[in-house]
Symmetry: C2
Subunit: 207 residues, 2 copies
Amino acid sequence: MNLDALPQPLYAQVKNHVLRHIRSGAWRPGERVPSEHELVRELNVSRMTANRALRELTRSGVLSRIAGVGTFVADQKAASHPLQIRSIATEIRERGHGYRAVVLKQERVAAPEAVRSALGLGARRTAVFHSLILHFERDLPVAPLQRVEHAVRAVQPDAATRRHLAMGAKEAALLIERITWSRGQRASYALLYHPGNRFELRGNFDI
Amino acid sequence: MNLDALPQPLYAQVKNHVLRHIRSGAWRPGERVPSEHELVRELNVSRMTANRALRELTRSGVLSRIAGVGTFVADQKAASHPLQIRSIATEIRERGHGYRAVVLKQERVAAPEAVRSALGLGARRTAVFHSLILHFERDLPVAPLQRVEHAVRAVQPDAATRRHLAMGAKEAALLIERITWSRGQRASYALLYHPGNRFELRGNFDI
DNA sequence: AAGTGGTCTAGACCACTGT
DNA sequence: CAGTGGTCTAGACCACTTT
Protein backbone atom coordinates (compact mmCIF):
# COMPACT_ATOMS: atom_id res chain seq x y z
CA MET A 1 0.00 0.00 0.00
CA ASN A 2 3.17 2.06 -0.04
CA LEU A 3 2.96 4.78 2.57
CA ASP A 4 6.47 5.98 1.95
CA ALA A 5 6.20 8.29 -1.03
CA LEU A 6 8.11 10.86 0.90
CA PRO A 7 7.02 14.16 -0.64
CA GLN A 8 3.53 13.74 0.74
CA PRO A 9 2.52 14.15 4.35
CA LEU A 10 1.05 11.11 6.02
CA TYR A 11 -2.53 12.34 6.12
CA ALA A 12 -2.40 13.02 2.39
CA GLN A 13 -1.13 9.51 1.80
CA VAL A 14 -4.05 8.16 3.77
CA LYS A 15 -6.40 10.30 1.67
CA ASN A 16 -4.86 8.91 -1.50
CA HIS A 17 -5.11 5.41 -0.12
CA VAL A 18 -8.85 5.87 0.30
CA LEU A 19 -9.27 7.70 -3.00
CA ARG A 20 -7.43 4.96 -4.86
CA HIS A 21 -9.85 2.34 -3.59
CA ILE A 22 -12.83 4.49 -4.49
CA ARG A 23 -11.62 5.35 -7.96
CA SER A 24 -10.69 1.76 -8.69
CA GLY A 25 -14.24 0.77 -7.88
CA ALA A 26 -13.21 -1.41 -4.94
CA TRP A 27 -15.24 0.78 -2.58
CA ARG A 28 -18.49 1.78 -4.21
CA PRO A 29 -20.85 4.67 -3.33
CA GLY A 30 -22.80 3.88 -0.20
CA GLU A 31 -20.33 1.28 0.99
CA ARG A 32 -18.51 1.56 4.27
CA VAL A 33 -14.85 2.50 4.32
CA PRO A 34 -12.45 1.48 7.09
CA SER A 35 -13.02 3.17 10.43
CA GLU A 36 -10.39 5.39 11.95
CA HIS A 37 -9.22 2.61 14.24
CA GLU A 38 -8.99 0.20 11.34
CA LEU A 39 -6.88 2.68 9.40
CA VAL A 40 -4.68 3.10 12.47
CA ARG A 41 -4.07 -0.65 12.52
CA GLU A 42 -3.78 -1.15 8.76
CA LEU A 43 -1.62 1.85 7.92
CA ASN A 44 0.35 2.33 11.14
CA VAL A 45 -0.69 5.93 11.60
CA SER A 46 -2.06 7.69 14.63
CA ARG A 47 -5.77 8.14 14.95
CA MET A 48 -5.51 11.92 14.56
CA THR A 49 -3.84 11.41 11.20
CA ALA A 50 -6.52 9.00 10.02
CA ASN A 51 -9.14 11.39 11.38
CA ARG A 52 -7.75 14.31 9.46
CA ALA A 53 -7.69 12.32 6.23
CA LEU A 54 -11.29 11.14 6.57
CA ARG A 55 -12.47 14.52 7.80
CA GLU A 56 -11.01 16.36 4.84
CA LEU A 57 -12.39 13.83 2.38
CA THR A 58 -15.76 14.32 4.01
CA ARG A 59 -15.54 18.07 3.78
CA SER A 60 -14.82 17.87 0.09
CA GLY A 61 -17.75 15.57 -0.50
CA VAL A 62 -15.95 12.31 -1.17
CA LEU A 63 -17.07 10.61 2.03
CA SER A 64 -20.01 10.83 4.36
CA ARG A 65 -19.74 10.18 8.07
CA ILE A 66 -22.25 9.26 10.76
CA ALA A 67 -21.03 9.30 14.33
CA GLY A 68 -21.56 5.98 15.98
CA VAL A 69 -22.15 4.25 12.68
CA GLY A 70 -19.32 4.64 10.21
CA THR A 71 -17.84 6.35 7.20
CA PHE A 72 -19.24 5.76 3.75
CA VAL A 73 -18.43 6.57 0.16
CA ALA A 74 -20.59 9.53 -0.84
CA ASP A 75 -22.68 9.62 -3.95
CA GLN A 76 -20.41 10.93 -6.67
CA LYS A 77 -23.09 12.71 -8.65
CA ALA A 78 -24.09 14.87 -5.74
CA ALA A 79 -20.56 16.14 -5.35
CA SER A 80 -20.36 17.32 -8.94
CA HIS A 81 -23.71 19.05 -8.89
CA PRO A 82 -23.92 21.66 -11.62
CA LEU A 83 -24.62 24.42 -9.15
CA GLN A 84 -21.39 23.72 -7.37
CA ILE A 85 -19.09 23.76 -10.34
CA ARG A 86 -16.03 25.71 -9.38
CA SER A 87 -12.54 26.17 -10.63
CA ILE A 88 -11.22 22.90 -11.93
CA ALA A 89 -8.02 23.37 -9.97
CA THR A 90 -9.92 23.85 -6.76
CA GLU A 91 -12.10 20.88 -7.44
CA ILE A 92 -9.23 18.54 -8.12
CA ARG A 93 -7.07 19.87 -5.34
CA GLU A 94 -9.80 19.46 -2.78
CA ARG A 95 -10.43 15.90 -3.80
CA GLY A 96 -6.78 15.14 -3.31
CA HIS A 97 -6.44 14.07 -6.93
CA GLY A 98 -4.22 16.79 -8.21
CA TYR A 99 -1.06 17.85 -6.57
CA ARG A 100 0.64 20.07 -9.07
CA ALA A 101 -0.48 22.05 -12.06
CA VAL A 102 1.39 23.67 -14.87
CA VAL A 103 0.02 26.62 -16.75
CA LEU A 104 0.83 25.92 -20.36
CA LYS A 105 -0.71 29.04 -21.70
CA GLN A 106 -2.15 32.14 -20.13
CA GLU A 107 -3.09 34.97 -22.40
CA ARG A 108 -4.74 38.22 -21.70
CA VAL A 109 -6.14 40.60 -24.24
CA ALA A 110 -6.62 44.11 -22.88
CA ALA A 111 -5.91 45.05 -19.31
CA PRO A 112 -8.43 44.07 -16.62
CA GLU A 113 -7.97 47.47 -15.03
CA ALA A 114 -9.77 48.87 -18.01
CA VAL A 115 -12.71 46.66 -17.29
CA ARG A 116 -12.62 47.53 -13.65
CA SER A 117 -12.55 51.23 -14.30
CA ALA A 118 -15.21 50.83 -16.92
CA LEU A 119 -17.67 49.30 -14.52
CA GLY A 120 -19.22 52.55 -13.53
CA LEU A 121 -19.82 53.46 -17.14
CA GLY A 122 -21.05 51.72 -20.22
CA ALA A 123 -17.61 51.31 -21.75
CA ARG A 124 -16.87 48.47 -24.13
CA ARG A 125 -13.42 47.34 -23.04
CA THR A 126 -13.00 43.61 -22.99
CA ALA A 127 -10.52 41.40 -21.21
CA VAL A 128 -10.14 37.79 -22.25
CA PHE A 129 -8.22 35.24 -20.25
CA HIS A 130 -7.30 32.05 -21.97
CA SER A 131 -5.62 29.35 -19.95
CA LEU A 132 -4.32 25.93 -20.81
CA ILE A 133 -3.50 23.95 -17.73
CA LEU A 134 -2.03 20.52 -17.29
CA HIS A 135 -2.93 18.82 -14.07
CA PHE A 136 -0.69 16.27 -12.41
CA GLU A 137 -1.46 13.68 -9.82
CA ARG A 138 1.50 12.85 -7.70
CA ASP A 139 3.62 14.11 -10.57
CA LEU A 140 2.04 11.78 -13.09
CA PRO A 141 -0.21 13.42 -15.65
CA VAL A 142 -3.33 11.32 -15.32
CA ALA A 143 -6.16 13.77 -15.64
CA PRO A 144 -7.05 14.55 -19.21
CA LEU A 145 -6.24 18.00 -20.44
CA GLN A 146 -8.48 20.49 -18.73
CA ARG A 147 -9.28 23.96 -19.83
CA VAL A 148 -11.07 26.99 -18.56
CA GLU A 149 -11.83 29.94 -20.72
CA HIS A 150 -13.00 33.20 -19.29
CA ALA A 151 -14.24 36.19 -21.14
CA VAL A 152 -14.86 39.21 -18.99
CA ARG A 153 -16.57 42.31 -20.20
CA ALA A 154 -18.67 45.21 -19.08
CA VAL A 155 -22.13 45.17 -20.59
CA GLN A 156 -25.39 47.03 -20.52
CA PRO A 157 -27.64 44.23 -19.35
CA ASP A 158 -30.92 43.64 -21.07
CA ALA A 159 -34.18 44.44 -19.36
CA ALA A 160 -34.68 40.98 -17.88
CA THR A 161 -31.22 40.80 -16.35
CA ARG A 162 -31.53 44.33 -15.07
CA ARG A 163 -34.75 43.42 -13.37
CA HIS A 164 -33.24 40.28 -11.84
CA LEU A 165 -30.44 42.33 -10.34
CA ALA A 166 -32.52 45.35 -9.38
CA MET A 167 -30.27 47.58 -11.40
CA GLY A 168 -30.88 51.04 -12.73
CA ALA A 169 -31.20 51.68 -16.43
CA LYS A 170 -27.82 53.37 -16.71
CA GLU A 171 -25.92 50.91 -14.56
CA ALA A 172 -23.33 48.62 -16.12
CA ALA A 173 -22.90 44.98 -15.23
CA LEU A 174 -19.86 42.76 -15.16
CA LEU A 175 -20.43 39.73 -17.35
CA ILE A 176 -18.22 36.72 -16.98
CA GLU A 177 -18.56 34.13 -19.68
CA ARG A 178 -17.06 30.86 -18.62
CA ILE A 179 -16.56 27.59 -20.44
CA THR A 180 -15.09 24.56 -18.72
CA TRP A 181 -13.69 21.45 -20.30
CA SER A 182 -13.50 18.06 -18.70
CA ARG A 183 -12.24 14.91 -20.34
CA GLY A 184 -12.24 16.53 -23.72
CA GLN A 185 -15.87 17.51 -23.51
CA ARG A 186 -17.20 20.94 -22.82
CA ALA A 187 -18.77 20.57 -19.45
CA SER A 188 -20.41 23.88 -18.76
CA TYR A 189 -21.15 27.25 -20.22
CA ALA A 190 -22.03 30.00 -17.82
CA LEU A 191 -23.01 33.63 -18.07
CA LEU A 192 -22.40 35.27 -14.71
CA TYR A 193 -23.74 38.77 -14.25
CA HIS A 194 -22.67 40.96 -11.37
CA PRO A 195 -23.73 44.54 -10.73
CA GLY A 196 -20.77 46.77 -11.40
CA ASN A 197 -21.21 48.85 -8.31
CA ARG A 198 -21.35 45.90 -5.96
CA PHE A 199 -18.48 43.79 -7.24
CA GLU A 200 -15.04 44.27 -8.54
CA LEU A 201 -12.91 41.90 -10.50
CA ARG A 202 -9.56 40.88 -9.20
CA GLY A 203 -6.68 39.10 -10.80
CA ASN A 204 -6.87 36.02 -8.65
CA PHE A 205 -7.86 33.20 -10.92
CA ASP A 206 -7.04 30.34 -8.59
CA ILE A 207 -5.01 28.33 -11.07
CA MET B 1 -13.54 36.57 25.14
CA ASN B 2 -15.94 33.99 26.36
CA LEU B 3 -14.84 30.55 25.28
CA ASP B 4 -17.57 28.75 27.14
CA ALA B 5 -20.56 28.87 24.83
CA LEU B 6 -20.95 25.19 25.33
CA PRO B 7 -22.70 24.02 22.17
CA GLN B 8 -19.63 24.77 20.09
CA PRO B 9 -16.42 22.73 19.98
CA LEU B 10 -13.29 24.53 21.03
CA TYR B 11 -11.75 24.83 17.59
CA ALA B 12 -14.96 26.48 16.34
CA GLN B 13 -14.83 28.93 19.21
CA VAL B 14 -11.29 29.80 18.24
CA LYS B 15 -12.44 30.30 14.65
CA ASN B 16 -15.19 32.61 15.83
CA HIS B 17 -12.74 34.45 18.04
CA VAL B 18 -10.62 35.21 14.99
CA LEU B 19 -13.60 35.96 12.76
CA ARG B 20 -15.02 38.38 15.27
CA HIS B 21 -11.83 40.41 15.29
CA ILE B 22 -11.73 40.45 11.51
CA ARG B 23 -15.36 41.39 11.06
CA SER B 24 -15.13 44.12 13.68
CA GLY B 25 -12.28 45.64 11.74
CA ALA B 26 -9.78 45.17 14.54
CA TRP B 27 -7.68 42.91 12.32
CA ARG B 28 -7.60 44.29 8.80
CA PRO B 29 -6.71 42.52 5.55
CA GLY B 30 -2.98 41.98 5.27
CA GLU B 31 -2.42 42.29 9.00
CA ARG B 32 -0.91 39.55 11.08
CA VAL B 33 -3.16 37.51 13.35
CA PRO B 34 -1.90 35.78 16.51
CA SER B 35 0.36 32.82 15.93
CA GLU B 36 -0.64 29.36 17.06
CA HIS B 37 1.50 29.64 20.16
CA GLU B 38 0.02 33.00 20.99
CA LEU B 39 -3.48 31.57 20.68
CA VAL B 40 -2.41 28.70 22.92
CA ARG B 41 -1.36 31.17 25.59
CA GLU B 42 -4.24 33.61 25.14
CA LEU B 43 -7.11 31.14 24.84
CA ASN B 44 -5.80 28.21 26.90
CA VAL B 45 -6.19 25.70 24.13
CA SER B 46 -3.76 23.15 22.82
CA ARG B 47 -1.73 23.96 19.77
CA MET B 48 -3.50 21.32 17.69
CA THR B 49 -6.80 23.04 18.40
CA ALA B 50 -5.44 26.44 17.44
CA ASN B 51 -3.88 24.87 14.39
CA ARG B 52 -7.14 23.33 13.26
CA ALA B 53 -8.94 26.65 13.65
CA LEU B 54 -6.37 28.61 11.64
CA ARG B 55 -6.01 25.85 9.07
CA GLU B 56 -9.73 25.71 8.37
CA LEU B 57 -10.01 29.47 8.16
CA THR B 58 -7.14 29.39 5.69
CA ARG B 59 -8.77 26.71 3.60
CA SER B 60 -11.94 28.73 3.36
CA GLY B 61 -10.03 31.82 2.28
CA VAL B 62 -10.33 33.93 5.41
CA LEU B 63 -6.67 33.71 6.34
CA SER B 64 -3.40 33.26 4.53
CA ARG B 65 -0.44 31.49 6.05
CA ILE B 66 3.27 31.50 5.32
CA ALA B 67 5.38 28.93 7.14
CA GLY B 68 8.11 30.59 9.10
CA VAL B 69 6.51 33.99 8.81
CA GLY B 70 2.99 34.12 10.16
CA THR B 71 -0.74 34.09 9.55
CA PHE B 72 -2.45 37.03 7.93
CA VAL B 73 -5.94 38.23 7.19
CA ALA B 74 -6.63 37.42 3.57
CA ASP B 75 -7.99 39.93 1.15
CA GLN B 76 -11.74 39.68 1.53
CA LYS B 77 -12.55 40.53 -2.04
CA ALA B 78 -10.45 37.69 -3.35
CA ALA B 79 -12.37 35.24 -1.22
CA SER B 80 -15.67 36.29 -2.70
CA HIS B 81 -14.41 36.24 -6.24
CA PRO B 82 -17.32 36.11 -8.64
CA LEU B 83 -16.09 32.90 -10.20
CA GLN B 84 -16.24 31.19 -6.86
CA ILE B 85 -19.72 32.16 -5.85
CA ARG B 86 -21.39 29.14 -4.40
CA SER B 87 -24.40 28.36 -2.34
CA ILE B 88 -24.88 31.00 0.31
CA ALA B 89 -25.31 28.33 2.93
CA THR B 90 -22.03 26.70 2.01
CA GLU B 91 -20.26 30.01 1.94
CA ILE B 92 -21.47 31.05 5.34
CA ARG B 93 -21.02 27.67 6.91
CA GLU B 94 -17.44 27.41 5.70
CA ARG B 95 -16.58 30.80 7.07
CA GLY B 96 -17.86 29.72 10.45
CA HIS B 97 -20.47 32.46 10.47
CA GLY B 98 -23.60 30.44 10.29
CA TYR B 99 -24.37 27.51 12.47
CA ARG B 100 -27.98 26.79 11.86
CA ALA B 101 -30.42 27.63 9.14
CA VAL B 102 -34.17 27.47 8.92
CA VAL B 103 -35.96 27.06 5.64
CA LEU B 104 -38.88 29.42 5.86
CA LYS B 105 -40.23 28.65 2.46
CA GLN B 106 -39.44 26.08 -0.15
CA GLU B 107 -41.71 25.86 -3.12
CA ARG B 108 -41.52 23.82 -6.21
CA VAL B 109 -43.59 24.31 -9.29
CA ALA B 110 -43.66 21.25 -11.52
CA ALA B 111 -41.75 18.10 -10.78
CA PRO B 112 -38.02 18.01 -11.46
CA GLU B 113 -38.43 14.56 -12.96
CA ALA B 114 -40.24 16.20 -15.80
CA VAL B 115 -37.23 18.33 -16.50
CA ARG B 116 -34.93 15.39 -16.25
CA SER B 117 -36.95 13.26 -18.59
CA ALA B 118 -37.33 16.16 -20.93
CA LEU B 119 -33.64 16.59 -21.40
CA GLY B 120 -33.46 14.35 -24.39
CA LEU B 121 -36.21 16.27 -26.14
CA GLY B 122 -37.10 19.90 -26.66
CA ALA B 123 -39.86 19.91 -24.07
CA ARG B 124 -40.85 23.07 -22.24
CA ARG B 125 -41.43 21.80 -18.73
CA THR B 126 -40.13 24.14 -16.07
CA ALA B 127 -39.27 23.55 -12.45
CA VAL B 128 -38.85 26.50 -10.15
CA PHE B 129 -37.44 26.26 -6.68
CA HIS B 130 -38.05 29.19 -4.41
CA SER B 131 -36.40 29.21 -1.02
CA LEU B 132 -36.46 31.65 1.84
CA ILE B 133 -33.83 30.87 4.39
CA LEU B 134 -33.00 32.45 7.69
CA HIS B 135 -29.42 32.05 8.81
CA PHE B 136 -28.40 31.98 12.43
CA GLU B 137 -25.06 32.53 14.04
CA ARG B 138 -24.75 30.71 17.28
CA ASP B 139 -28.53 30.78 17.39
CA LEU B 140 -28.74 34.54 17.01
CA PRO B 141 -30.07 35.77 13.70
CA VAL B 142 -27.33 38.17 12.67
CA ALA B 143 -26.95 37.61 8.96
CA PRO B 144 -29.44 39.57 6.91
CA LEU B 145 -32.10 37.57 5.17
CA GLN B 146 -30.54 35.62 2.36
CA ARG B 147 -32.23 34.14 -0.62
CA VAL B 148 -31.44 31.92 -3.51
CA GLU B 149 -33.75 31.46 -6.38
CA HIS B 150 -33.28 28.74 -8.91
CA ALA B 151 -35.14 28.29 -12.12
CA VAL B 152 -34.34 25.11 -13.96
CA ARG B 153 -35.52 24.36 -17.43
CA ALA B 154 -34.65 22.49 -20.55
CA VAL B 155 -33.95 24.72 -23.50
CA GLN B 156 -32.87 24.60 -27.07
CA PRO B 157 -29.71 26.68 -26.83
CA ASP B 158 -29.09 29.38 -29.36
CA ALA B 159 -26.35 29.02 -31.93
CA ALA B 160 -23.66 30.71 -29.84
CA THR B 161 -24.27 28.58 -26.77
CA ARG B 162 -24.46 25.45 -28.89
CA ARG B 163 -21.11 26.27 -30.38
CA HIS B 164 -19.58 26.93 -26.96
CA LEU B 165 -20.72 23.54 -25.74
CA ALA B 166 -20.04 21.65 -28.96
CA MET B 167 -23.60 20.47 -29.08
CA GLY B 168 -25.58 19.11 -31.94
CA ALA B 169 -28.44 21.05 -33.43
CA LYS B 170 -31.10 18.75 -31.94
CA GLU B 171 -29.54 18.46 -28.51
CA ALA B 172 -31.24 20.04 -25.49
CA ALA B 173 -29.41 21.84 -22.73
CA LEU B 174 -30.15 22.18 -19.06
CA LEU B 175 -30.34 25.83 -18.13
CA ILE B 176 -30.09 26.87 -14.53
CA GLU B 177 -30.98 30.44 -13.81
CA ARG B 178 -29.74 31.49 -10.45
CA ILE B 179 -30.13 34.70 -8.47
CA THR B 180 -28.46 35.21 -5.13
CA TRP B 181 -29.24 37.83 -2.54
CA SER B 182 -26.85 39.15 0.04
CA ARG B 183 -27.58 41.86 2.55
CA GLY B 184 -30.75 42.80 0.79
CA GLN B 185 -29.03 43.35 -2.50
CA ARG B 186 -29.09 41.06 -5.44
CA ALA B 187 -25.56 39.82 -5.67
CA SER B 188 -25.42 37.72 -8.78
CA TYR B 189 -27.41 36.55 -11.72
CA ALA B 190 -26.17 33.49 -13.51
CA LEU B 191 -27.20 31.49 -16.53
CA LEU B 192 -25.61 28.06 -16.30
CA TYR B 193 -25.86 25.85 -19.36
CA HIS B 194 -25.08 22.16 -19.23
CA PRO B 195 -25.39 19.69 -22.07
CA GLY B 196 -28.34 17.45 -21.35
CA ASN B 197 -26.56 14.25 -22.24
CA ARG B 198 -23.59 14.93 -19.98
CA PHE B 199 -25.26 16.09 -16.81
CA GLU B 200 -28.25 15.26 -14.76
CA LEU B 201 -29.95 17.32 -12.15
CA ARG B 202 -30.29 16.04 -8.65
CA GLY B 203 -32.40 17.20 -5.80
CA ASN B 204 -29.51 18.19 -3.59
CA PHE B 205 -29.74 21.91 -3.20
CA ASP B 206 -27.32 22.22 -0.31
CA ILE B 207 -29.55 24.28 1.93
C1' DA C 1 -20.42 -4.06 25.78
C1' DA C 2 -18.08 -2.87 21.78
C1' DG C 3 -17.57 0.12 18.03
C1' DT C 4 -17.96 4.62 15.87
C1' DG C 5 -16.96 9.38 14.96
C1' DG C 6 -15.88 14.12 17.42
C1' DT C 7 -12.84 16.33 20.02
C1' DC C 8 -8.84 17.65 22.90
C1' DT C 9 -4.29 17.49 25.02
C1' DA C 10 0.81 17.88 25.79
C1' DG C 11 4.27 16.81 24.06
C1' DA C 12 7.51 16.18 19.75
C1' DC C 13 10.38 16.84 15.28
C1' DC C 14 10.96 19.31 11.09
C1' DA C 15 11.94 23.11 7.51
C1' DC C 16 11.82 27.46 7.00
C1' DT C 17 12.27 32.73 7.63
C1' DG C 18 13.66 36.48 10.31
C1' DT C 19 17.11 38.93 13.16
C1' DC D 1 19.06 32.41 17.30
C1' DA D 2 14.01 32.36 18.49
C1' DG D 3 9.70 32.23 16.07
C1' DT D 4 6.62 30.30 12.66
C1' DG D 5 3.72 27.01 10.44
C1' DG D 6 3.34 21.74 9.11
C1' DT D 7 2.98 17.54 10.83
C1' DC D 8 2.62 13.47 13.91
C1' DT D 9 1.95 10.72 18.06
C1' DA D 10 -0.25 8.18 21.96
C1' DG D 11 -3.00 8.73 24.79
C1' DA D 12 -7.82 10.49 26.58
C1' DC D 13 -13.03 11.58 27.30
C1' DC D 14 -17.47 11.99 25.25
C1' DA D 15 -22.07 10.92 22.88
C1' DC D 16 -23.93 8.06 20.09
C1' DT D 17 -25.58 3.63 17.54
C1' DT D 18 -25.44 -1.33 17.17
C1' DT D 19 -25.32 -5.85 18.93
